[in-house]
Amino acid sequence: MRYGYNGKILHINLSSATLKVEKPSEEFYRKYMGGSALNLYYLLKEMPSGVDPLGTENILAFSVGVVTGVPISGQSRVTASAKSPLTGVIGDAQAGGFWPARLKHAGFDAIIIKGKAVSPVYLWIHDGEAEIRDAAHLWGKVTGDAEAAIKDELGNQKIEVLQIGPAGEKMVRYAAIMNMCNRANGRTGMGAVMGSKNLKAIAVSGNKKVDLADKDAFKDLVRQGAEALPGSDLAGLNKYGTNDWLADQQADGGLPSFNFRSGVFDGWKALDGKTMYDKFRRGHEDGKQDRYGRDTCFGCIVKCKNVVEIKEGRYKTDPLYGGPEYETVCTFGSYCGIDDLAAICKANEICNKYGLDTISCGASIAWAMEVFEAGMLTLEDTGGLELKFGNAQAMVKLTEMIAKREDFGDVLAEGSARAAVRLGRGAEFLITCKGQEMPAHMPQVKRGLALIYAANPFGADHQSCEHDPAYEAFFEYFKDRLAVLGLANPQEPQSLGPEKIKFIRKTQYMYSMLDSVCLCQFVWGPAWQLYGPEEIVKMLQAVTGWDVTIEELLAVGERRLNMMRVFNAREGINRNQDKLPERFFKKALKGGPTNGWKLDEAQFATALNEYYHQLGWDVETGLPTHQTLERLGLGWCIQERA
């Protein structure tokens, strides 16, 4: 009997409007688990190298994991993967909500989409069936309107809708894929790929329960999470949200500000979690923000999602579109020198309405602000927008212009790296890795994370390894969990020696596995999460009946990482592209505890060599060796890697 997964993958060719169902073996599912790893299998097997990311030959893959859809916190996640139109290398993004669980309940584990529809369509997947439907009447609608229209058309208000907004239709290079109108497969431009295929939405519905191999063991884990939640950091997150982290980042000198020129921002208090809670969380007028100002995903008791409502004034926002979290508050806030939280809430609403990655959008605007302040952009270039740091109105206006590809918004819709090329100026101020804008954790403070920013296959990403402080000052809190991964030797802050690299590598395998099994990184992880490595093993065992070990699960993560590296190698990417912006090495930070801090080039180069060596990659090229690929059961990739 099969437990956890459906054993069915839906293949859709939009060019020929054909559908077929594949039923892979149990061995296949155990090897790849789902999510990112399963997507990579199809991208490598069925897509040639060198395709145009916005062309017909790109493949867009959606996968959930073998445990998606079971009634426990943090399992309703979906990964979208394709060749990225922002970076030109592998694109990969995760999202939560109810849609992932409902895809599983509808009878499928993954959807592999090829070709391009002649005219806009949407997919309707329900109770083991799938069909392609006309979406001409939906094209151009913002996410809230499109979702309502689909639910009315299909006569079921409980349908879950995954979709692109107008930004994806216009192929903004960092367009996001949305579900619930406020959950985003945000990074690397997967929404633009979906738009390039004339695919507006995927609606799902189903009642199929996921069978569990060991119900008693599963219930024990559910109970364990409920008991642990009140005393955990997750309890704090569900009161004030991730915005509460601004205080700590500021105290540490690690709050990216003014396009990463500084690690401190005087206006941080106006943006923090308590300010959000007191002034903007839905229900704050009646003191009922704990009841109405939070939201959750299928099966999850953590309820970490922010819901804001602004009823009056210039920046009215609709709670349908959720609320900004830490990254969004930074990219539209401290990155841009803006301390107007209402304006940031509005920018977040625009992004969720039109379907945009808030990180790349805010960061691109911050880049443009620095270029403007340096005198390299004029009011004529920007269509009259005074792009000075701190100009909240300009930031909100420009966000909408990007979403609609209007005037200067069309330039920034290409991403900051392409915008610099198109304008012929501003390249020295870019804060990108492989063309993707950087998230809100500073390389100067978290040196191990800095290495991952540079070496990560899909560009700068803050969710691809555990953060340095877990193996530095905070080690005592996490030592039991880290010991399961063989990590028992905490390091000094800003260190980047072999033991720190080992920490980064092993937690990278773990996060890579989480994105394949499709588990939420707030709930499941190696350190501060609600459940640790041992519970992840128990959960997999209880759901699937497989006698997995932590080593086997880490190997899934390592496998996915290597497949991504092979994908990039086919596109001509090697260690030459594993770089950080030069200004981190050349220009010191200004202000606060990190005043004067720069990265050390020699330290970084040595660390990169050690990282490749530990991964079993060729140090000269940064590519996986044949031996490593064979060890991971990826011998079939060797020809691809060449």
């Binding site: 704090g236 982290w245 980042q249 500021q250 105290a251 690690g254 000052a473």
Partner: protein, 66 residues
Amino acid sequence: MLVKVNREIVKLEDRSSIIDLIRLKYLHFATVIVTLNQNLVKKEEWSNIVLQESDEIQILRFVGGG
């Protein structure tokens, strides 16, 4: 009395301990580290140490990816 917490002036009752300060602002977080005048203070000592006028305290919570 007045102390500095994360470089900001905070008013506390006289004879407040570190745990009193934690309860004031950080009760709902589990992973917290504290330094007092640049020296790390172990969690088991938080109740025992009475703060003095002009003490400089740094309180940090773990910040991961999110």
